[in-house]
Symmetry: C2
Subunit: 376 residues, 2 copies
């Protein structure tokens, strides 16, 4: 096993390739109609996987979803030449005039973006997705504004100043089938008299009801691309996905505890009998969740070892009682292949998987799987 | 108020200067004996404040505490020329031979470091602090090993191969006065027959019992330097400290909710009456804690506004009912001067303040207070 001096997240673009194909298979309709195209959502530096590494697995995606126009420019600099969906561009749209932002799709979710769009002279007209606020109410236009904006933008399409106009919404409760059905229905009622392609389905919606998702024109897949389940109680692996991230860190020392001795702050763990503890160079300053002790495990040499004692800034402590072979320099897997599923760690931490992978800090290098880890 | 497009942490080195002086005042003994010197602990990129900015406030510190020898080299590159304490160097100590690592103090906490120290030929002999495992059991030698290592290292000092030898421990429960007293006593018993300077006190120990801290030779202050309280139920401000970080983000849009409508995922918040919501460009992908809604506030125009609805990856939503003047582009303070104390946010999030400031991700630029924020 390779020796590290610090934690590292190993990223496997082949897993992303697999997950994209898996989603495409789900979305492929049995009949002659076209399958929806896929926006590969890569917000938050590709959900913490590092955009540059994620792009290595996204060659087959139909487009790339990012948050801001700055992010769009960054993805162009990293070599992404396909369509880009700017999902939260805000009201300053002047970057649209940058020639690098060809094939740009823009989510319009604020009324003041309309005036800004009229003012600008991009070399290539952007494609606009009008966003309804839906039940989420994270930006997006209310129904009346939406209809008004649709007609104004439609005229711009006719005048050749926009490349196209579609309908977009983000669900508030895509993991809940009943809620999802209700939100889908309300949106389709709203847009029934306004022709145009539809982009409403995210990973959770695609995975919980792919038949409905097939009837749309573009889907937006984020978390599932990275092999992580957006559905409560499911793992990515149980959905046929492969985790793209393996988060690892080395044991930097071992320590003997006598029965009754504690480890970690405030002695919340005490040894029942003599035992051996591994000190792992990973803590909450790396983005590992604090306070999972007593529930959470790490993988070592293909088996699991329990985290004991409080997770501290730079160290977490594991029970090596069942691992007499483990020595300093050995690498443990905090989540991903060889360790617990990220979904399990998230459950133990009382949060969601996306929180864990995007929460890794700058201290954790993201390394292409197979490349040399840090500190060697 | 300056306009931003993303969140930013503004860092005030003058607050660090103030906090260091405040700690020095506490440590200054009334009699003729010397006050302890202060290691300014700057692990985890200066507790998330960015080491380069923190150094601007640390000119009066007696030394700088970092985790690894790589961090020590990094602080030299950033211009720190004083003593450096490497707090978790591990067993590969070859960087000690780098001439940049003059005035290096090394914590020895693993037996195999002794052989490594004998093998190396640094230009300038390092100073060694022998660490006892104490009740924390995060590295550090057990009592028997400790005595043996002390005598071996003492001989190295005599031979001129080490610059000096001191005693070091890290407490497991420095916030608890009774526990602290017990741990102090046990350590002093251990070292009573082994002369040498003592370094045991951290921020919590200094602030909860500065009289005992005065009797030591070096103290290690981390969190308090940044103006944050290490003591449960206290704020940095109540201890005479000034927060060095102000974490801010802009409102990127506002949204009207009718009575009964929800905002955010899974509709966990529903408006009781018509209200106006501010959408803030900050979420858990920035390191803001997820799931604080219903308890937590942000500052806007000098008053507080409640967070409502689930904190999402890129957005948090605030109740603007009492803030008719607030408009998109306005900046809210997530913690620090002008907003809630970081200690309050940590309490609402069920964690500690250090977790919040070191958990900010690479997406949040750390900016010297007074410099231009991002996205302008």
């Amino acid at each position: 096993m390779t020796e590290y001096r610090c934690g590292a997240a190993l990223i496997d673009p082949q897993a992303i390739v697999h997950n994209l194909r898996q989603l495409r298979r789900l979305l492929d309709p049995p009949g002659p109609q076209a399958a929806p195209r896929i926006w590969a959502v890569a917000k938050a530096d590709a959900y913490g996987h590092a955009l540059e590494h994620a792009l290595a697995g996204l060659g087959e995606a139909d487009g790339l979803g990012v948050l801001t126009l700055d992010d769009a420019l960054h993805s162009r600099r990293l070599g992404w030449n396909g369509p880009i969906l700017a999902m939260g561009a805000g009201s300053d749209l002047s970057a649209l005039e940058d020639p690098a932002l060809h094939s740009l799709h823009l989510i319009v979710d604020q009324p003041d973006q309309l005036a800004e769009l009229s003012r600008l002279q991009p070399l290539q007209a952007p494609y606009v997705w009008l966003r309804h606020c839906g039940e989420l109410h994270h930006a997006g236009l209310q129904a009346d504004e939406y209809r008004k904006a649709y007609h104004a933008l439609h005229a711009e399409v006719q005048a050749g100043r926009l490349a196209g106009l579609g309908h977009l919404q983000h669900y508030a409760g895509a993991e809940n089938p009943e809620q999802l059905r209700k939100e889908r229905l309300a949106f389709h009622e709203l847009i029934s008299a306004m022709p145009g392609p539809v982009c409403t389905e995210n990973s959770a919606a695609v995975l919980s009801d792919h038949v409905s998702a097939r009837a749309t024109d573009w889907v937006r897949c984020g978390i599932a691309l990275y092999g992580i389940s957006p559905l409560h109680g499911r793992t990515g692996r149980s959905l046929g996905l492969r985790p793209a991230m393996t988060f690892q860190a080395p044991i930097y020392a071992t320590q003997k505890l006598c029965g009754g001795q504690g480890v970690g702050y405030n002695g919340i763990f005490r040894a029942k009998r003599d035992m051996r503890i591994g000190l792992v160079r990973c803590g909450y300053a790396d983005g590992y969740p604090r306070g999972v002790q007593g529930r959470c495990v790490v993988g070592i040499h293909g088996r699991m070892a329990a985290i004991v004692g409080r997770v501290s800034m730079d160290t977490l402590t594991i029970d090596l009682s069942g691992h007499p072979e483990a020595v300093p320099g050995d690498v443990v897997t905090l989540w991903g292949p060889g360790g617990p599923d990220i979904e399990s760690v998230a459950g133990w931490a009382g949060t969601i998987s996306a929180h864990l992978c995007v929460g890794l800090t700058a201290r954790v290098p993201r390394i292409l799987r197979g490349q040399t880890p840090c500190g060697v």
